[in-house]
């Protein structure tokens, strides 16, 4: 009895952290964007969706192996996002919040219809390679290799992000721009260029996460709106502009979603929404956010 409870907890921890890592990879870019430019980019999920479609298209039409499509998803989405940033978003950084919301909602709508046109409105057929559908048995615990992949990749990316932000010159420039855009401009940092590159990396990560997450989240044209709430929860609970906050929020969300599905499946998404609402009421700027 006690052991089976323990077993359940280990299972929830493993799956929850793996899911949290996936959410972190997908939404960390949004957190940085919001922190640096105060730009409410609700269309962040479009990048994740695009990454997913790049992955399935390469697998189905060109016969690429799943793991090889991941870097491709990153690159394609990062390049596409640069165009969007340069030609559309850049005009809106000084606009009102509402206008930013509306613009990005418009982009979501267009992306949904475009995806339905190109790839069809139905969910994409997707099968993980055999080596990722297996379960590893350790004693009486069983872990999916897919979950392990999420954990390992998520950890590598997290470490890379922290190293990049804390230990490199470019990371210092990003932090400076997030802290105070005007002062950063004053000391000669080309904030626009820093931002374009950061935006591209963040979007690329979303694309990578979208490809990585097809197995867990599914993929159809309504993806950007269906998972919008998840991105917003991660960003809002974490607080805009902090990678630490985004990581903590993503893990909290992954764990509470998984635990909810495991222990009280009949409540559905109710728990995570309620948790989000409570956190927002308690700390409107997020757990790690600065007012």
């Amino acid at each position: 009895m006690l052991f089976s409870i323990f077993q359940g907890i280990v299972q929830v921890l493993f799956d929850g952290i793996a899911f949290g890592m996936l959410l972190f990879v997908m939404s960390v870019g949004l957190s940085i964007t919001l922190g640096m430019m105060k730009f409410a980019n609700l269309a962040h999920g479009v990048f994740a969706m695009l990454g997913g479609y790049v992955c399935t298209a390469l697998m189905h039409r060109a016969g690429w192996p799943f793991l090889a499509t991941l870097p491709a998803a990153f690159i394609v989405v990062a390049v596409a996002s640069v165009f969007l940033e340069r030609f559309v978003y850049r005009r809106m950084y000084t606009a009102k919040e509402l206008d930013q919301v509306l613009l990005t909602v418009g982009i979501i709508y267009m992306a949904i219809a475009a995806a339905a046109y190109v790839w069809g409105p139905e969910p994409q057929a997707f099968a993980l390679p055999d080596y990722l559908t297996m379960y590893r048995h350790v004693g009486s615990f069983s872990f999916s290799t897919y979950g392990a992949l999420l954990l390992v990749l998520g950890t590598i990316i997290t470490v890379a992000i922290f190293y990049g932000l804390e230990r490199t010159r470019f990371g210092a420039m990003i932090r400076a721009a997030v802290d105070d855009r005007r002062v950063a401009l004053g000391v000669g940092i080309n904030v626009n260029r820093v931002f374009t590159i950061t935006f591209a990396i963040g979007s690329g990560l979303a694309g990578l996460g979208g490809a990585l997450g097809i197995n867990a989240l599914g993929l159809d044209p309504s993806f950007p709106i269906e998972y919008l709430v998840f991105f917003l929860i991660v960003v809002s609970i974490g607080g805009g502009g902090t990678v630490k906050g985004a990581l903590a929020a993503a893990l909290l969300l992954g764990l509470s979603d998984t635990a909810g599905k495991y222990y009280v499946p009949q409540t559905g998404a109710f728990i995570i929404y309620a948790v989000m609402l409570l956190v927002m009421l308690w700390r409107p700027n997020g757990l790690f956010g600065r007012p």
Partner: protein
């Protein structure tokens, strides 16, 4: 008040203020045209009366959002919370034996107002992105609750088996939607008058100040939180009334009346029309619903592309939706003419 002896100056200032409010509240030449158009719809498009009814309900809903967004500057991503509460209140009453349309309508408005009053304590304390998330969060929690409580709400199947009684005990809801249209138009007009009165009152002016600068208004002595809470409750009531109206005219409440999609839809309508100009919500709702009706016939899967494009174009290139674009155009023509004769 009585202790102060009014000097000539204060009397003059008061008179000027009163004259200013009178001028603001004056009926413009296009306003009767607008309502005549709504009446003409009844005779011109007898086969489109159900669409007309839905447009009116959507316009009323957009108007309720305009009260908080266009006048109060409170952005909500979850305004359909109150629309859904109104619709479910009216629907549940009718399902359980009380189908008198007017009282059901009123009950929908009152319930939504109470819900709005409860939410207002939170709403007035947050701004910016946090406000978006709190409104969205309230909406999502309620949606999931309604989805799971299917013994009461019918869950994803919606609330079925609703029967409303004859209107005033005389007019039965007919299959062509004539009674529903006339009833909805009448109620919409009355509620529009109320909204018009609100935005042209001193209270409405304080709201505009709050929208323009919520940091400076307290310095003028405006009780921001109390104003914000009051307009939020009024807006919630109006949204609830529009939800109840729709429930009565279609005799059904769908779960998506609480869905996030509807919040985004109504925001889109308001933006397409224009915020803070009262008629923006009517123009936006009409354009949105007619375009959807037409485009969905052509190609149902892709009509969101065009709505998205319209949104992007409006945000990037106009100042305040279609109404704003038209008035800018009128200004521009006026300046061309005026400039020519003056110089």
């Amino acid at each position: 008040m009585t202790a102060d002896t009014p000097t000539a100056e204060t009397v003059g200032a008061n008179a000027a203020a009163v004259a200013d409010f009178r001028a603001r509240a004056r009926w413009r030449w296009y306003e009767p045209l607008f309502w005549l158009g709504a009446i003409a719809w009844y005779f011109l498009f007898p086969t489109y009366l159900p669409l007309g009814t839905q447009i009116l309900c959507a316009a009323l809903f957009a108007l309720s959002l305009d009260l908080i967004l266009g006048y109060g500057g409170i952005v909500s991503l979850g305004h359909t919370t109150f629309f859904g509460i109104g619709a479910y209140t009216a629907g549940l009453l009718a399902k359980h034996g009380w189908g008198e349309p007017l009282t059901c309508l009123l009950a929908g408005g009152v319930t939504a107002a109470i819900a709005g009053w409860v939410c207002s304590f939170v709403i007035v304390r947050v701004q910016g992105v946090a406000l978006l998330l709190v409104t969205l969060g309230i909406n999502l929690v309620l949606y999931e609750a309604a989805n799971k409580a299917y013994t009461i709400t019918g869950g994803a199947d919606g609330l079925q088996g609703i029967v409303f009684w004859k209107l005033f005990g005389v007019f039965d809801y007919d299959i062509y939607g004539r009674v529903a249209y006339v009833y909805t138009l009448g109620v919409t007009f009355l509620l529009f008058l109320v909204a018009r009165r609100i935005v042209h009152s001193p209270f409405g002016l304080a709201l505009k100040g709050m929208r323009e600068n919520w940091k400076r208004m307290p310095a003028l002595g405006a009780a921001l939180r109390r104003h914000g809470a009051l307009i939020f409750v009024l807006s919630a009531a109006l949204a609830g009334l529009s939800g109840a109206l729709l429930a009565e005219s279609v005799q059904f409440v769908a779960l998506d009346s609480l869905g996030v999609q509807r919040s985004v839809d109504v925001l889109t309508m308001l933006i397409v029309g224009g915020t803070g100009v009262l008629y923006g919500s009517f123009v936006g709702a009409t354009v949105y619903m007619v375009v959807r009706d037409q485009l969905a016939d052509l190609n149902p899967a892709y009509w969101y592309f065009w709505i998205g494009l319209i949104l992007v174009v409006i945000v990037l290139f106009t100042r305040n939706g279609l109404v704003g674009a038209v008035s800018d155009l009128a200004d521009w023509i006026g300046r061309k003419r005026g400039g020519g004769s003056a110089s």
